[in-house]
Symmetry: C2
Subunit: 307 residues, 2 copies
């Protein structure tokens, strides 16, 4: 099977809006009154997933981390392209990968419009294109002093799951799902337009990602450790160890962290109920230019560094 | 140095049109009256370049092969994103890579608007976004019976260069340039709008790429071997060996192959003189549904297959 047969067999989905399938480039329409929002993310075997991670989970995560970037801008997913570097042509692997990718793409109404396959060490790059009303995108640079800081759902579960796996401990489906199948918060992101002053997705760790907002917005913040929403197991672990580094620096959560004016507190409460996404206030933006913790934990946590 | 410092140090160029540098996604304007044209291409060490290929040449080729895809659509480059997977943080390597990438990007007025860096086996994915007047993109699917078939410049030089390198033979700068620094034919592509009925870039080999046009357009063609434009050294090599596989199946040329109505033959001649790109007629589109060669060479050539 050559590259073209591979693409036709595994990635020849119904391609809505695409004017010319399998050409040099994809040609698509783009709305005139929208801003174009784009991102690229790569996941590599041994870095972002284990060598025994299922192709279903790999495909899911490769697309989900990109959708999460769109969610953090309040953008609507439109199109994606896939660059797939494979060590060999494993038909079973490709069937599962393709099936899972298609499922997630359909769920969020994003269309695969192009790609490239190459032989090499297992590496998946996905590039997404989304749209957002002009000048409405949620940015990192526009947090305001006095804003309340919120996060979605619970924080630190992916890092807790990874730690348990590395220690050879058994793990419930709930935690495996948080690690391998993070839910991109697209509905939340879209609903935060007009409410949040700034937003980011928590991929590198809560403190590091919040620091991106603070630096770009030239503000500071304090966060209250006891307010950080934790799952039961992680909460038990922290009660035993006082090791707050998992939620503070673990990363890979793909929850949203956003800041919003105090006057919107009730609107955010209603939104949480309406879209059934837990939203918890964990701190306040101030003019200190620093990020400080309130609570009994002063250790500096090591965030993941590639190099 | 962490990922963010790396990006700021090596890829913090003046980012025209970008509304929010270093955010989750890039946010940019897109013209209302244009079609969006996008592509992604990956190059991997050991497959697309040697382990001793210079970072300057790697960066050049990673972007050039994507620009070539835009050229084949007649599209104008607008934006690109870069996913860089690196085995280690080598500052010298990154400086050269960044410098060369920026040079080529500036030359073709395409703006780096986002990216991702990861640790792993040296792999570079670039995603490009371009624009073309609505319904004017050059496609593979619209060749017409009776069209003349043209190629730009000379064909087979990259494959000839690769063969000489693999055989340990000395090679002139001209051939090294054809292999490592292919010129994306953007000016030609743009000028073919309204003239060519179909177009493709020759990345996989002349016959294989022309077959893509024929299959998508549901037509056939005959090409005349003696009309294929060859460089002096490759012509000498073929005179000695009668091995036509280098120009027919070598690939990696990134010249354009296009078809156009006979009535435009003189316009194409003038265009060639005006934009100083050699354009040669090598065959004719017919209704045979097959690709036939005219000339003394019947061997089937092996095209490069990843798997």
């Amino acid at each position: 099977m050559d590259e073209f047969e591979l693409i036709k067999k595994y990635f020849n989905w119904e391609q809505k809006d695409l004017l010319n399938p399998f050409d040099d480039c994809a040609v698509v329409n783009f709305s005139s009154d929208k801003h174009l929002v784009t991102s690229i993310d790569t996941i590599v075997q041994g870095i972002h997933f284990f060598s025994n991670t299922s192709p279903n989970d790999i495909a899911y995560k490769a697309l989900a981390v990109n959708l999460s970037d769109l969610a953090a801008m309040g953008a609507k997913p439109k199109y994606f392209t896939l660059a797939l570097t494979l060590p060999s042509l494993d038909k079973k692997w490709l069937s599962k990968f393709s099936y899972s990718l298609k499922n997630l793409a359909n769920k969020h109404n994003i269309n695969l419009i192009g790609g490239d396959t190459t032989k090499g060490f297992l590496t998946i790059s996905i590039s997404v294109i989304g749209e957002v009303e002009k000048n409405k995108a949620l940015l990192r640079s526009t947090a305001q002093v006095g804003d309340l800081i919120f996060v979605s759902n619970t924080i630190g579960d992916a890092a807790y799951a990874l730690k348990q796996i590395k220690n050879g401990n058994p793990l419930s489906q709930r935690y495996l799902k948080k690690l391998n199948r993070p839910e991109p918060q697209l509905v939340l992101g879209k609903n935060l337009i007009g409410i949040a002053n700034s937003c980011i997705d928590i991929s590198d760790g809560l403190e590091q990602d919040l620091m991106h907002i603070l630096k770009k917005s030239k503000v500071g913040a304090s966060i209250c450790l006891k307010n950080i929403p934790l799952s039961k197991d992680l909460s038990d672990y922290i009660n035993k160890t006082n090791d707050w580094c998992l939620p503070l620096a673990g990363g890979d959560d793909y929850e949203l962290c956003f800041t919003a004016p105090k006057k919107y507190a009730n609107i955010i409460k209603s939104l949480s109920a309406k879209i059934k996404v837990k939203l918890t206030q964990i701190g306040v933006v101030n003019d200190s230019m620093e990020l400080t913790r309130v609570g009994n934990f002063n250790k500096e946590c090591n965030s993941y560094k590639h190099f």
